[in-house]
Subunit: 334 residues, 4 copies
């Protein structure tokens, strides 16, 4: 239940303030050259402190690959990896062990397991996503070698679309101890036609599961998405055309590169909605473990808006899905 | 890849104009009373011809349960079932074997497998969903016995929200050979706290995958969804309260009953966006199998708007997810 | 839990005296020609009444393929199939509903589920294997097209090895209301090198699981098996040689075609031990559902020795494993 | 494909001479007390140098648990762990990179992946089993708390049964640069009735897959096994009896505690056949990577007989299977 994927599978482990976050990427094809420096740089994109509104926790997030490579190439064996938790101040979190933080997983986790690691949210912390970024970063390198690229951007922060307004909104929210959500757009280019499984494994269903599994995500759409449901069929028909190179393509791309759950060779487009960060830097009323009213004043290090840090996470999850389906497609014929 | 679920798994088969649509529901707990009449009535809700804008195909959709029950109770063994395809007019579909219909899966399917059954869209037809409704209908009966209920409704057709406007829009689109999409809202009530798996198996990620796997769905959100991403954290905080019965609940439910991927005992709420039906009842330009321009004039029987027929499909998929997670939760402690 | 395989998966359903035994074979590659007559003949090999010591139940076992084929070729979609139960005399089994038969699954099943279908053993009956034979028969046709063949034979009945002694032993046991077990040998030829997954999915581990899942099997070995454990390393070394066609092979085949869990291109050899049929045609002391002593005198139709009927089951299970691993191997490189 | 289990899953990674061997044990129930010292001692049992015929490689095999525990109890989250490779002399293995060792996985691995890590056999080395022992050691502690125990012993070395003869045979083989195989017997006691899944997941099929996945294993049997196939039904019938405590049991246990794939509450008994160690300490003819004849004289550190070191591996794999099925059983009823 901490695994993801069918042929290419990622299994992750780790609590926010435990020894390490790590994982096993299994099913990576053999013989793929991996650029370790590029991988480390990709993981750095997720680190805090790089953008307005990101928290100041200065983890090093150095990736340790423990297996699966030999002389710079994948062996076809599982790639075990970890990132040590080096800079965790558990003391910051003593208070929250005694109450349930609103919009966090404290209460649901306690109900489910009867036990939880309260330090930094334990495994419910978004820190677990560093394992996704390591594995996805490896998958991206394989995809690039196949001519497939993934691009994402913050397209909205709160209700704001222009970058300068986004930045201003974050600074204002920060000054008021408040937080913001937003929307990330992602495009996957160069994907061959024929990826995705028609019924329960529609490619967009797999992408939805991947994106919705990222902490704070509350919505997913592909192609024209929710907007498409307000239109008439005649307004969103992607007509076919024969291109100069002899291939068949579509004139428009309302479908977001996927029809019937299977790629058609056009760009895959999707949008992912993030709720505002749940931890406010102000006093918040809540209840203690017995349900008695209390107040909570978070200190620690927290983001005002996670969107910019979430970009490599979105790209990583997209890469895991696409490479997995690329491998599955190989089994469609004898 | 035609299977869904972890403990409770549904595997389906069947082409639109083949002998039958069917499936195997495996992992159903033993000893559950199944009301076969109620199941048949639930399956009838998905049939055509019951609402404005639905197509006239008059299948009987009689459910045949082949195994897994004895004296009205589940045995704990797999429940095999089928629904015969009795009223298929394959001749209606001769034309479409020679071209690719826009916004359909003809082209992507051909690219993936190098072969396809063109009769009625083959397995890419929404007719496959009858198997989901049979299986989900059984799951719903088990959930009801646990006090869990699922309700869904068409909350938008095209851009229209009031029921009378929805109906009028459908009639108008029909008269013009056009089609409409819309939005279905679904609520799951009575779910105990603690269901869902924290990382890749977040309950909303599983629900998203389930809903996005329904034909024509282009978007999913839970709780306040996309709207939530435009708000500040302080505006969407679901504060805790102790209730008269001693339990802990939340005052508001922006989170849609799920926090950190795990249920908190509040109602699960979600919205699912359907694109307009791709088949227009008018001449449409397209390409033939070699990419040469041609035109297509669909006849056959097609819906103008599938939303009302999709309600039991949404409920069925929701039920499969919830019952599966109910069973998984049993394994969280020794 | 009623499914088998990773890419090529078989899910089965059905009780001995329910409406039908059936299944879904998912993941079959597209475009494979299937000879339905040959498939029906393969299924007939499993039927009763064809060999000394087999029971007289005269089922027709007519295979109904419900999906997944079009114009004689596989579509890449799931192949749903069933075999109706036409000749079941439930009355024969009234007595056994009131007690637990020794060496049968009555007691364990009741303990596990709290309910069971007593008619003919319900799902615990070896009748479920007809679904394996249908699915395996399809897989065999695909393998044959790849130049891979599977051969099996009864190599021992009780302690007897020569065919005429085996036959005599069966007749003698039958005349005394007793039963016999034995050993089946199986060879898989033409398998390319490189199939099998190195750690938990070693090819012989998958074959062991497949064979041990056949009713009555109590032992499995491959290559020199148990005998090999009595030898010194120097006695069972399969030395390499370069063959005239330039390929590398081994001079001997103590390893049974598998080294480190992966095929080396030599014949895969294995032996499967079946316990004697548990149902004796004589009075047997046992207990009723409360544990009180009683006696049981089975009538119904029962085999004295199932070995000859089990041959197509062994071949079918072997075929499912080999074809699955053939498909998995395609994903080992990018 | 480097994962094992359904609810309780173990995923492992690591090459013999890479940075570490490790894994992730997922699905462990929450709240189980783990004794880390006892776990370390269990892992030590697998180390070399403790018994006659074991190799002298002096790894420390110190277990590092990286996640999933808090204040000595399991959290219900995945338990990531690793064992560093501290004492590897890669230089010893230079020669074997240039040829294929007979009865090893060098050739099959190269054929499968087109690349391999030749240092110490890479991932094909039995060193990978340390990860199984760590995970299984944790499972054993949970089982013990449920009153379930696992015992194993070397019951045969080569053709020899008495302990003193086994020891003498090993010393003699060692002095001649030869190696030996043998048989391990294992009993699982205190298992409740009702564990195991009836069709493809029969408990003995799962145990067979588990044991056959251990390096060097060539055969598996449970209960009376191969011997049972030589008997008449009347000779191996396990008659039922009501015991003084009111429960139902069997007078004999030819069935090895499993009937119809499901436990009946009696001891589970099984025997596992190991082939002789493939690496001989003498000159052996073989071929190089192009198939040209060459000779190989292994040095390095190698066991003459692995049986005593394999005992904790057998127990670990048995524990993983039993605990997994204990959890699955919880889902058999609503």
């Amino acid at each position: 239940m901490n695994s993801f994927g069918k042929i290419l599978t990622l299994t992750t482990f780790g609590e926010s303030h435990g020894a390490a976050i790590g994982g096993v990427l299994d099913g990576m094809p053999a013989g793929v050259l991996i650029d370790l420096d590029a991988l480390q740089r990709f993981v750095e994109r997720r680190r805090s402190g790089q953008a307005v509104g990101s928290s100041a926790r200065d983890e090093e997030d150095r990736v340790e690959l423990l297996s699966g490579l030999y002389l710079g190439k994948t062996l076809g064996t599982p790639i075990g990896f970890l990132v040590r938790n080096t800079n965790a101040h558990s003391a910051d979190y003593d208070e929250i062990a005694q109450c349930y933080r609103p919009n966090h997983a404290d209460y649901t986790w306690q109900t489910k397991y009867g036990i939880r690691d309260p330090r930094g949210g334990g495994r419910a912390s978004a820190r677990e996503t560093v394992a996704r970024v390591v594995a996805g970063g490896i998958a991206i390198q394989a995809l690039n070698q196949l001519g497939i690229t993934i691009e994402s951007q913050v397209s909205q922060v709160g209700p704001y679309l222009p970058p300068d307004e986004m930045e201003r909104a974050i600074l204002k929210a920060a000054s008021e101890g408040d937080t913001l959500g937003g929307i990330i757009s992602c495009a996957i280019k160069g994907v061959p036609a024929g990826l995705g499984e028609p019924i329960f494994g529609k490619l967009h269903a797999q992408l939805a599961a991947a994106m919705m599994s990222i902490p704070s995500v509350h919505g997913f759409e592909y192609g024209d998405g929710f907007e498409m449901s307000t239109k008439r069929g005649s307004e969103v028909t992607d007509l076919f055309e024969k291109r100069d190179d002899g291939t068949i393509g579509t004139v428009t791309n309302h479908s977001g590169g996927i029809q019937g759950g299977i790629t058609n060779g056009e760009d895959i487009t999707m949008r992912i909605a993030f709720k505002p960060v749940p931890t406010l830097m102000r006093e918040v009323p809540t209840v203690d473990l017995e349900g008695k009213p209390t107040t909570l004043h978070s200190r620690g290090r927290h983001d005002v808006c996670v969107l910019s840090r979430a970009l490599p996470i979105v790209e990583a999850m997209a890469a895991l899905v696409i490479l997995d389906n690329y491998l599955i497609k190989k089994t469609n014929v004898l």
